[in-house]
Symmetry: C2
């Protein structure tokens, strides 16, 4: 998708090994400076020189299989994770067995911000498909963001965005009815796929009806019924987890519909 940019990257591209032996995939995986996600992820707006320093900071990568935990509630917090590929959910659970999905995360988004406050993760992060993440030692990130203003500010924006997003979910859970919630959820997913260069109209859900329900504060049967209703009304085409949005404005209208 994008091979140019950053000193490291230019070096690699012009070397014999890179062009002859190493597969493109491996090259791309090497660093932030030539990561296709850099405009979605932490490196936004950094200068090439700064980007190089960020490269040094992303020390390890982890691959996860579908179903693997990236971290669990209660584990000591050490890393922030940037999603390179794949799809995650985070959930919290309380003693009595109740649990709730607090979010779904996709490429370029950060995981682990919840752990900063108490040095311990407060939720579970679970891969919903085979995934790869960059592990960023948080103390290093703090160090570097003391030196790179842009990085610092962007990191603050990311945390703030998470807070704003959570407020949106609270709004959804507190005031919307089932179909409005599902419409809002689908439109949100659609937009995020679009931002990543995928079709905003057609995509695969990575999560079960139960997980959607948990996120939206609904039972899976209610989610299923809402899907059926949307299909009857010609808003969606649903096949298993394959979704095609047929009428975006209809969904938006539904979402904003007054109760009175």
């Amino acid at each position: 998708m994008d091979q140019t940019q950053g000193p490291v990257n230019r070096l690699v591209l012009t070397s014999a090994r890179a062009t002859k032996v190493m597969p493109a995939l491996e090259v791309v995986k090497a660093a932030c400076s030539n990561c296709s996600l850099r405009e979605l992820c932490l490196p936004i707006g950094l200068q090439p020189e700064e980007l190089k320093r960020l490269d040094e900071l992303v020390s390890t990568r982890r691959r996860l299989r579908r179903g693997d935990h990236l971290y669990r509630a209660g584990q000591p917090f050490e890393f922030i994770y940037a999603i390179r590929s794949g799809f995650f959910k985070t959930d919290v659970l309380i003693e009595d067995g109740r649990d709730q999905v607090t979010g779904f995360q996709m490429t370029g988004e950060l995981l682990g911000l919840d752990g900063i406050s108490s040095e311990v993760h407060s939720c579970n992060a679970i891969a919903l498909e085979d995934s790869e993440v960059c592990a960023i030692p948080f103390s290093h990130l703090e160090g570097l963001s003391r030196q790179i203003h842009t990085l610092q500010h962007h990191f603050h924006k990311v945390m703030s965005r998470e807070i704003v997003r959570d407020h949106g979910v609270m709004m959804l859970l507190g005031t919307m009815r089932a179909e409005e919630r599902l419409a809002a959820f689908l439109l949100n997913l659609s937009q995020r796929f679009k931002a990543r260069g995928y079709s905003p109209a057609e995509f695969n859900l990575r999560m079960s009806r139960d997980e959607i329900g948990s996120y939206l504060g609904l039972k899976l049967e209610t989610v299923s019924r809402a899907f059926s209703r949307f299909q009857e009304d010609g808003l969606l085409a649903v096949h298993q987890r394959k979704i095609r949005i047929l009428n975006t404005t209809g969904l938006k209208k539904l979402m904003t519909h007054q109760r009175g």
Copy 2:
């Protein structure tokens, strides 16, 4: 509105006027370094020297009357506010008229974190009683936290804590029933009053039943009924907005009660 600030303040403290003429209250209000809230607020863990630099950063104070807006959704973001005294709510509202209280804030807590992400406030902050806040220019805070590691880390913790808190609210809205929600809410308030040296068992609610309901995703009638129920069950004594918790463990048990 307030005449003492920054460097001026240090002057005042060592001057004859400060010790002889000015009332103690005024002195206390002058700066972080002698603010009674410094163990709850941003200055946690700072050295005296660092504290002095933080003083310079808190440039202005604002007094608000009950009902005043500290900021409104849509206004440009510039300041983080630390609550010196008083009580606030934040709420978001969407086009169709629905709104939701996203939080209640008390002394030592920060307001405005939501604005960082887009340089524009995403919610309204409204004083629920006469209040006073310290306005901290955010760009200055970023600057200082690039120099003071402790401050930086603490600020990150505060943002993270807000995220964790929001997840707790999502849990509450998504999985708890009315009485569980109210119990959780009261216990949370109780604990925060306690942390500030007030009685955890007896306090005045600063917000209406309607505002509680909005926060908890319930209608005011439901909140009222839950209060009545708690009183019948001997868990609370309720008189208007005056609350006395009679049975904390009972409330906790109720909160954690399984549905099955």
